[in-house]
Each structure stands twice: as structure tokens, then as C-alpha cells.
């Protein structure tokens, strides 16, 4: 058997599983998205109204469009904070200081906690009358922290929770990238008289672009599809302030039982996610190439 046939034979179980658990459900969701279907409600049978009926409704659905903007805003804010903090932590972990190994292990712990548990932990910390954080905020700063009574507080609480949960991932990935960088350009730059800031901007960042692309890509997609932490902490409230698209789709499909409309929402949101990530990827790759050409 030649190597190509062996490769296909070894890959075939994975391909079959991916088709069964990935491609076929996606095609089914795509199909259902063209029908008006509420199996536990008034439309028990799939009803075809006209081509793209659900999508036509969706482009006028204020709640869905608002949820998409909310998710995008959340993704941009968390990505900026996680990248900044992660970069600073990765740079500090490159140098040596007492208890460095201990700090690195402790700082990685949030990564191993399931998102729903992270939501539960934050809820216990923040709940009125029981959690220590509102108590301390009131005692020390005179600040009334009640994330379920203010839209801004709810949004920023979720931002803090996501940053706490995922910054270690950014730190570890950037640390791996920074540790693997060659030392020659740094030595040349120092001989040429470059200062630390110039070295960081003109050498470290351009050489880290491939790692940054991976980190930004993964975190952007994860932030856009956030559900479980938010579900545990605020369930989308108060009002609509933390109703990100994942939560919005969940409520449409499992509370209102509008399977056709929910499927169309899922497909459209997948499309939006792909477009955002593709634009981001194209910009970063072209920037990286421009830097290489310089």
C-alpha cells in the first residue's frame, strides 16, 4: 500500500466522525432554517412559507441585531484586555523572580475550571447579602455593587469574569512564542542603539505575529460564542444587557420552541463570526507580510 492510501485509511475514521457529528448536523440546521417549525407549538409540521422567510424576518429583528452588536462589543473589549494583560504577564514571566514557578502554576488554574463553574464561583462571590465582594466594595469604598440592578455593572462583571478565566491562556501562548524567538535580532538591535521600546515595537511584535494571529483568532471565536458563564451569572439580564447572541438563540429555541427561526439565527451568526474572523485574519496576515517586506 502506498503512503497516500495509508494516509487516507488512517484519516478515514476521523473524517467519518467529523461528517456525522459536524457536517450533517450543520446541513440539517441549514435546512431547518428555511422552514417555519415549532414542533411543540402551533407549527408541528415543517412549513415552507417562501425562500429565506426566516432570514427576511431576522434582518428586521431588533433584538437579534442588538444581541449581535452586544456580542461584538463584548468580544472586542475582552480581547483587548486579555491581550494587554496576557502580554504584560508573559513578559514578566520571561524574567526571573522569587516564587516564579508557583505564580505560573497558580495563574494557570482558572484554565482548568469549566465555564459553568466559573459562573457559579462569581455568582457566589457577587450575590447580594452573601458574597464578600459587594460587602468589601461597600465597606472599603462606599460603592454599591449589585450586578443584577445595573446594566453597566452586569456587562462589566461578565467582562471581568471572562478576563479572569481566559487571560492565562493568552499568557501561556504568548510566553511560548516569546521563549521561542531567536536572540540574534535583539543583539543586533542593541548594538545599533535601539532602546527597549523600539525593540518591542520593531522586533518582538513583528516576530510574534503568527502567535498573535492564533491567540486573537481563538479568543475572538470563543468570546463571540460565550453562553455558559453568562447563563450561570445573569441568564442574559438585567433586561437585555447581557443577552449575547448565544443566550438569545438558546431562549428562542428552548423557551419559545421556534426551531426554524432559531436555526436561521444560528446560521446567520455563524456567517457573521466567519466574516469577522476572516477579516481579522486577512488584516493580520497582510500586516505580517508588510512587516517582513520592510
Amino acid at each position: 500500500m502506498n503512503s497516500s492510501k495509508t494516509a487516507w485509511l488512517l484519516l478515514s475514521p476521523t473524517i467519518v466522525i467529523l461528517i456525522i457529528v459536524g457536517l450533517l448536523p450543520f446541513l440539517y440546521v441549514l435546512y431547518v432554517g428555511f422552514f417555519n417549525w415549532m414542533p411543540l407549538g402551533k407549527n408541528k409540521e415543517m412549513e415552507f412559507i417562501n425562500f429565506g422567510y426566516n432570514y427576511r424576518e431576522l434582518v428586521f429583528d431588533k433584538f437579534f441585531i442588538d444581541s449581535v452588536w452586544r456580542s461584538i462589543r463584548f468580544a472586542i473589549v475582552t480581547l483587548a484586555l486579555e491581550l494587554t494583560l496576557g502580554f504584560l504577564l508573559a513578559l514578566s514571566l520571561l524574567s526571573s523572580f522569587p516564587l516564579k514557578a508557583f505564580f505560573r502554576s497558580v495563574h494557570t488554574l482558572p484554565l482548568v475550571i469549566a465555564p459553568i463553574v466559573v459562573g457559579a464561583i462569581f455568582k457566589l462571590f457577587l450575590v447580594q447579602g452573601l458574597g464578600p465582594i459587594p460587602f468589601l466594595a461597600k465597606e472599603l469604598f462606599g460603592f454599591k455593587l449589585n450586578y443584577m440592578s445595573s446594566e453597566a455593572q452586569a456587562f462589566w462583571t461578565i467582562v471581568v469574569m471572562d478576563v479572569w478565566h481566559w487571560t492565562p491562556f493568552v499568557t501561556l501562548t504568548l510566553l511560548a512564542g516569546l521563549s521561542a524567538l531567536p536572540q540574534d535580532p535583539y543583539e543586533s538591535a542593541k548594538i545599533d542603539g535601539a532602546n527597549n521600546f523600539q525593540i518591542f515595537i520593531y522586533i518582538t511584535i513583528p516576530m510574534l505575529v503568527p502567535v498573535l494571529i492564533v491567540v486573537i483568532f481563538i479568543r475572538m471565536m470563543d468570546s463571540l460564542k460565550i453562553v455558559d458563564e453568562v447563563w450561570m451569572l445573569t441568564a442574559g439580564g438585567p433586561g437585555y444587557s447581557t443577552r449575547f447572541t448565544g443566550i438569545h438563540i438558546w431562549k428562542e429555541v428552548f423557551e419559545k420552541r421556534t426551531y426554524g427561526y432559531g436555526s436561521a439565527m444560528s446560521v446567520l451568526y455563524l456567517y457573521i463570526t466567519i466574516v469577522i474572523c476572516w477579516i481579522l485574519y486577512s488584516v493580520m496576515v497582510s500586516r505580517g507580510k508588510a512587516n517582513e517586506d520592510e
Binding site: 456567517y271 466567519i274 466574516v275 476572516w278 486577512s282
Partner: protein, 61 residues
Amino acid sequence: MKKNSRGFLPIKTNWFDRLFIGVISFVALQLIWMRFVEQFASINISIGIGILWIIYVIWKG
């Protein structure tokens, strides 16, 4: 069909990239048409324009 070529798109692309860009922009056109133009003109017009656009992007992009 050109391989890893540079057409009117600002990046180097292969035929699959151009198909992807064509389909993505096709969907965007349909959604924008449904939202803003369909009250005045049928969606079939935008489907026609979209298909021609995909062919053009694959061919010249």
C-alpha cells in the same frame, strides 16, 4: 483559472479563496437587499447579480 494570482482583490488568492470571498459577499448582498431594497425590487435581481459577482470574483479576483 489563475493559481495564487493577484487580480483586483488586494490580496494574493487561489481559486478557493476567491470562491469563499464570492460566497461571503453573495450572502451579504442578499441580506442587505432583504433589509433595504426588497420593498422596491425583487430578491431575484440580487440573486442574479450575486451569481454574476461570484463568477467575476473567481475569474478576475
